[in-house]
Symmetry: C2
């Protein structure tokens, strides 16, 4: 790891000026083939790697995009490095895991897929992708730091305070993901939460003939949750049913809170004929509770979720749900960003992606 060679070193080695070295790397066709090869040889010989910082500074663009997620709160510390290096603990251990309760990851899957889509699309367009996960009060600082090192910032709903977001928007393009709230002010990508839940609810009522329905909602501050409830509500209203009379439980979008909701329903006088949940995790939790109580799904009660996470495809019975194109959300966001970078004056645009209602065994005869 000797001192890193620079354009000057390469130029000297190849017997050309630094401008030519730069051209060989950025616009090879502007340089005569023989010169180009000579320079490339020097580049290889010296192991030259252009400095991203210098490039970014001179070109006024970094070639990187940022993706900012809301944070996982639970962040238990791990032992420090010294522990790991010095570790004399056994290299393996046995765990009797028979009969363990399945608790799949929290919301992670959602982010993972969005991230993958964004990464994919960013790469295709020649951008690097820098990710950051917001942590409570520091979100604004972290976002600012990030804003300084990228050409554009993708922000997941609720991960950055609005005030901070507007500040940043004065400096670099912002695309907001999964938040209907910001439509109009920023470019944004959302999914058809409303329509999806509406369609699913209509299916339960019209096709399955069920009118005795309970609803398991998510946190009040979730825009997704609001949209889904609105879709559910409108389906009821259209059919002359009163949403106010629906048994409503509110959970945390986790499997555990779904179990609680399920237990609550079990303890009530009469089970509803259908339990519509605002996301899959809670739907799976409800399934857990019902399975445990020996209630047959879907024969006695129909259960549905929302999101289309993998775990909903592996449960028994498999969970009917509304699939969100999460990877597409990430890709679409990058596309919007590209458009914004190409034309900074364009009107803010909003992409609303379609969802798929996946009818599975938790709502159908097997």
């Amino acid at each position: 790891m000797t001192k890193a060679p620079t354009v000057y070193d390469v130029a000297a080695d190849a017997g050309v000026s630094i401008a030519t070295v730069s051209r060989v790397l950025r616009r090879p066709e502007d340089v005569r083939a023989s010169t180009r090869e000579r320079v490339m040889d020097s580049v290889r010989d010296l192991g030259y790697v252009p400095s991203g910082s210098a490039r970014g500074l001179a070109a006024r663009r970094t070639g990187a995009l940022g993706l900012y997620f809301p944070g996982f709160d639970a962040m238990d510390d791990m032992g420090e490095l010294s522990d790991l290096l010095a570790d004399a603990s056994p290299s393996y251990s046995f765990v009797d895991d028979v009969g363990a309760a399945p608790e799949s990851h929290q919301f992670n899957l959602y982010f993972d897929e969005v991230l993958r889509g964004a990464e994919l699309e960013a790469w295709r367009r020649g951008f690097a992708l820098t990710v950051a996960v917001g942590r409570g009060g520091l979100a604004a600082d972290a976002a600012r730091d990030m804003a300084g090192r990228v050409d554009g910032l993708l922000v997941l709903a609720q991960s950055v305070p609005d005030a901070a977001l507007e500040q940043l928007a004065r400096r670099i393009p912002i695309v907001v993901l999964a938040s209907a709230a910001h439509s109009g002010a920023f470019d944004s990508v959302t999914v058809s939460n409303h329509e999806g839940m509406h369609a699913l609810t209509a299916h339960v009522i019209d096709d399955l003939g069920i009118r005795d329905i309970a609803y398991v909602a998510g946190p009040l501050d979730s825009p997704d949750d609001n949209d889904r409830w609105a879709g559910f509500e409108s389906a009821l209203l259209e059919r002359g049913m009163d949403p106010g009379r629906v048994r409503l439980r509110r959970g945390e979008f986790t499997r555990a809170s779904g179990r609680l909701a399920g237990a609550y329903l079990l303890a009530s006088d009469a089970m509803p004929k259908a339990v519509i949940c605002a996301n899959d995790q809670m739907g799976l939790g409800v399934l857990d509770a019902l399975n445990e109580a020996g209630i047959r799904v879907p024969q006695e009660v129909v259960v549905t979720g929302f999101d289309g996470i993998e775990a909903a495809n592996l449960s028994s019975p498999r969970l009917t749900t509304v699939h969100q194109p999460m990877e597409l959300v990430g890709r679409a966001a990058i596309q919007l960003m590209q458009r914004r970078l190409d034309d900074p004056e364009a009107e803010p645009a909003s992409i609303r992606l379609p969802v798929k209602v996946l009818l599975r065994e938790s709502s159908e005869g097997s």
Copy 2:
């Protein structure tokens, strides 16, 4: 999005020199409180965001770390932005998904978790994390580009050609993940593949009393696969069994190839009493094949996997497997990188993380 304010603008606004502005941001305690506040006010008023490029250039460090993954090959294109914006397609659709075959994601889960661990740990240490996914022949270029913009590079085994890797190592610190091959040359993080598979195999032979075993291996070029096979092999040898006589099928680490392997075993004269698979995906595929053929697991055949992915916890029967601490791999890698950055002259270190043998229903009485 007017012209971005710089230190000069802030300095002028606050009536100080640029050095003072810089100090306020980097070493606030070196500046008198009254001055500091005046500068901070200007920073806020102007919406100043320091340029990461300029900082990186002047300070000779970017404050970012890179994470380089081998690529997903299948990269089907999506419609372009114009399609999405103009899209008049319905906002939802119904899909009859009853009875669909569960095919969980490919290897993604593995990367997702490593990434999460790395992100977490990088954040804690004040680094940004830039991710890139290698794409075939361009891997070397992409890695080089990345190397120019970060202070250190984490590389997953096999994602960058060795020659390119050594080039880059001359410029910035490299930490290799999940590759025993590079130990000694680079800092590296691995898991106890050998020991884990050895322990699992010993359990099958000694505790379950099974000696009629088939092995479903992964690709030949996978170091993980090699290690696991070696662990399996050594367990047999220790017990006087001949690894050469084990029925061996080689797959692609995918569920589909696991199904194929299962079908092959079913078609053979006699089923073995245990099928040990080099990863979970293939183990799940074998389960699929056996379930379909009506073979009872574990009563007639024991099946095991390796990795500890979530899907292996949701199958029926749930899959006995060896859990890798994937998130820890990511975190440990960042810790190693930190150590290397702190002390560039340190001897290359290797962290080998312990695994957990998870005994579940696919190998035990329920």
